[in-house]
């Protein structure tokens, strides 16, 4: 019966074409996602087009999607930079019969079929804040650098961090909050400035993959061995700093798996196997993955530290 559904929406001999848009192509996080996506594409025999802005730029994402509507693809999967803006374009794609998935960061819920949710905001926020509190021994000042004030996931995560903070750690104070726009140099400058301006700061939490190494670099250059770094990032880029003891922990879901899952879901969606009301999906080496409403859930976040970081190559 599944076979039949597949032939309905993709005629025999016609390869499924999936267009996948990251927020920024040069970002290691998305490079890791792409790895998983490529792996899945090869396994499933689908054509994967991977394109997006070189540096995070909402307008460029819109243009890529617009062009793919013209080109005609089967599924468009977007890691959304600007929620409101891209939703209009995604709705247009759906009107033209293209299936739409969001991953990593969500659009408005009526603009897509499914969201591949790498982790719930609560999960991330709690994990980050608990790890931070562990490093700070439950007291002192810390600062926050996030990737952007726009992106939906950033808003949700920083809110979750703060919720956890007020809920559980009364002796910890958030003294500075910056947005580095996903740009390493900005993260570097902001971290340097934070250290200079706040002599008592004990920890910097960077919720931004490309921003983490520069943050650690800035801390290292300042010579302040009492300041530590934790945050969201990829393991390989942070390995040296973790071993040097500047960075204490890197929190992340497995982003290779995120890309992998996205392509699996996309193919299922294109072939009509993923339908409303489905509660799970079979995702190759990941096994059965839970679906909650229109969210496909990747699972709980992962903590990389001195003990395990060298085992990961992304």
């Amino acid at each position: 019966k599944k076979e039949q559904a597949a032939t309905v929406s993709s005629p025999v001999g016609k390869q499924v074409v999936i267009g996948m848009v990251p927020k920024s192509k040069g970002d290691e996080y998305f490079i890791a996602c792409r790895k998983g996506a490529d792996e899945a594409a090869e396994q499933l025999g689908v054509k994967l087009i991977w394109d997006g802005p070189t540096e995070p730029e909402a307008a460029r994402q819109n243009e890529v999607v617009d062009d793919w509507i013209t080109r005609g693809v089967d599924v468009i999967a977007v890691s959304v930079e600007n929620k409101a803006g891209i939703s209009t374009v995604l709705r247009k794609a759906r009107e033209k019969g293209i299936k739409v998935i969001t991953w990593d960061a969500d659009s408005e819920s009526d603009a897509r079929d499914y969201f591949i949710n790498q982790a719930t905001p609560e999960g991330i926020g709690q994990s980050l804040m608990d790890n931070a509190a562990g490093v700070m021994q439950n007291k002192g000042e810390f600062a926050l650098i996030m990737a952007s004030r726009t992106a939906g996931n950033m808003i949700a995560w920083s809110a979750a961090v703060k919720a956890r903070l007020t809920e559980k750690y009364p002796d910890i104070k958030l003294v500075a909050e910056e947005a580095c726009e996903d740009r390493p140099i900005l993260a570097f400058n902001q971290a340097s400035a934070i250290i200079k301006a706040n002599p008592n700061v004990k920890l910097i939490m960077t919720i931004c993959a490309p921003g983490m190494p520069p943050t650690a670099e800035a801390v290292k250059q300042s010579g302040r061995t009492d300041v530590k770094v934790i945050g969201l990032g990829t393991p390989k880029a942070n390995a040296t700093y973790v071993h040097e003891g500047v960075t204490q922990a890197v929190i992340l879901w497995n982003s290779v798996d995120l890309g992998y899952l996205t392509v699996h879901a996309a193919k299922a969606l294109a072939e009509g196997r993923l339908k409303v009301g489905e509660t799970s999906i079979d995702a190759g080496r990941l096994g059965k993955i839970e679906i909650k409403g229109d969210n496909v859930l990747l699972g709980s976040p992962f903590r990389f530290d001195k003990t395990n970081i060298d085992q990961f190559n992304f």
């Binding site: 192509k25 087009i49 394109d51 070189t54 730029e57 909402a58 307008a59 460029r60 819109n62 243009e63 890529v64 617009d66 062009d67 793919w68 013209t70 080109r71 005609g72 600007n82 929620k83 409101a84 803006g85 891209i86 939703s87 209009t88 374009v89 247009k92 004030r149 726009t150 808003i155 726009e181």
Partner: protein, 350 residues
């Protein structure tokens, strides 16, 4: 006898008469050829490239930069430059968002405010240039920083403005009769308006004169300051308009809007054959160049190629077009009995 001399010169000029008409256009011819090559290649390697829809799509995606390029054409023809337009898009977009979301103005009025701010900013540029006689490059280099800084300052520490009314958002994404994007209509109107302004009115003629020789125009009684004020105001107004369209299309107003657009727009104007020294230039050339650049990006994507290639190709396009133009000029010179080296000597590269 004098009559005779006149005749003989006229005859000699007969041939160069045709050349005279064509030579200033040669850059446009080169761009047309390059454009044709692009179209042929992309209709082979790209999917759904050669469709009416896609043609409109190319325009739609380039409307903001296109508008800037249109407004910059008379500025550059008049011997000026405006580097501030990109930053001005950011400022106007932010002002649009603020006046709607923070000050609670109706969106229509907020659009008006954005256009007003744009025009005022253009006026500021124009006044500094004409009243104080500061070079346009310097003035607009300064105001570029200024506008950008203002936009960032207004936005500092806050989230971009989003969730504009549906009608507004659709302005940037709706299709009239099912295929004609609304902002393309605005662009076409603007293109015609600027074409007429530059080539069919006395104002355009005086702009050309100012571009060739500021002093010469003044001695001919051209109100140079008023004309320059006009083009800079128009450039500001159009930047405001581009900001509105950008916000409507992308659905987001923040300080990053329009970043780097000034250089894209100038590239288009120059590629279209407008002389950076002023005087020479056509709106038609600018339009051609816009297409040549826009199609590059669009076609690459339809051919499933990474968009990074576009940067290399735009640069190459510009240089190839200019070299092609130079070569044509040299060849026609050669056929008229001049050597290559002469051109080179005369072309003051500075």
């Amino acid at each position: 006898m004098t009559q005779n001399a006149l005749n003989s010169v006229t005859m000699a000029g007969g041939r160069s008469g045709l050349m005279m008409r064509l030579l200033p256009m040669s850059q446009q011819l080169v761009v047309v050829v390059l454009l044709a090559i692009e179209i042929i290649i992309f209709s082979i390697v790209g999917r759904n490239f050669l469709t009416v829809e896609n043609a409109f799509e190319v325009i739609r995606q380039n409307v903001e930069i296109g508008l800037l390029a249109l407004a910059l054409t008379p500025v550059i023809v008049a011997g000026g430059i405006d580097l501030s337009v990109g930053s001005l898009i950011a400022l106007c977009a932010v002002v649009l968002g603020m006046s709607w979301q923070d000050w609670g103005l109706p969106l229509g009025v907020a659009v008006g405010v954005a256009l007003l701010i744009g025009t005022a900013a253009g006026l500021l540029n124009g006044l500094l240039i004409t009243r104080l006689g500061i070079a346009p490059l310097i003035v607009t280099l300064g105001s570029m920083s200024l506008f950008k800084g203002l936009a960032e300052g207004l936005m500092s520490g806050r989230a971009p403005f989003t969730h504009f009314s549906t009608w507004f958002n659709e302005l940037g994404n709706r299709y009239l009769f099912g295929f004609l994007p609304e902002q393309v209509l605005i662009f076409v109107v603007a293109a015609i308006a600027f074409g007429l302004l530059l080539h069919r009115t006395t104002i355009g003629r005086t702009l050309v004169a100012i571009g060739f020789s500021f002093d010469g125009a003044r001695y001919a009684g051209v109100p140079v300051c008023r004309r320059l004020l006009l083009v800079y105001c128009l450039s500001g107004l159009v930047a405001g308009l581009a900001a509105v369209i950008y916000v409507a299309r992308v659905g987001e107003a923040n300080a990053g809007a329009g970043r780097g657009y000034e250089l894209y727009a100038i590239t288009a104007v120059v590629l279209g054959g407008t002389s950076i020294f002023g005087g020479r230039g056509t709106v038609a050339g600018t339009l051609l160049a816009l297409f040549a650049i826009g199609i590059l990006r669009n076609g690459l994507r339809l051919a499933d190629q990474p968009a990074e290639l576009a940067g290399v190709l735009v640069g190459t396009l510009l240089i190839v077009a200019i070299i092609g133009n130079k070569l044509i000029n040299q060849l026609t010179d050669l056929s008229a009995g001049r050597t290559l080296s002469i051109r080179r000597e005369r072309g003051n590269p500075t």
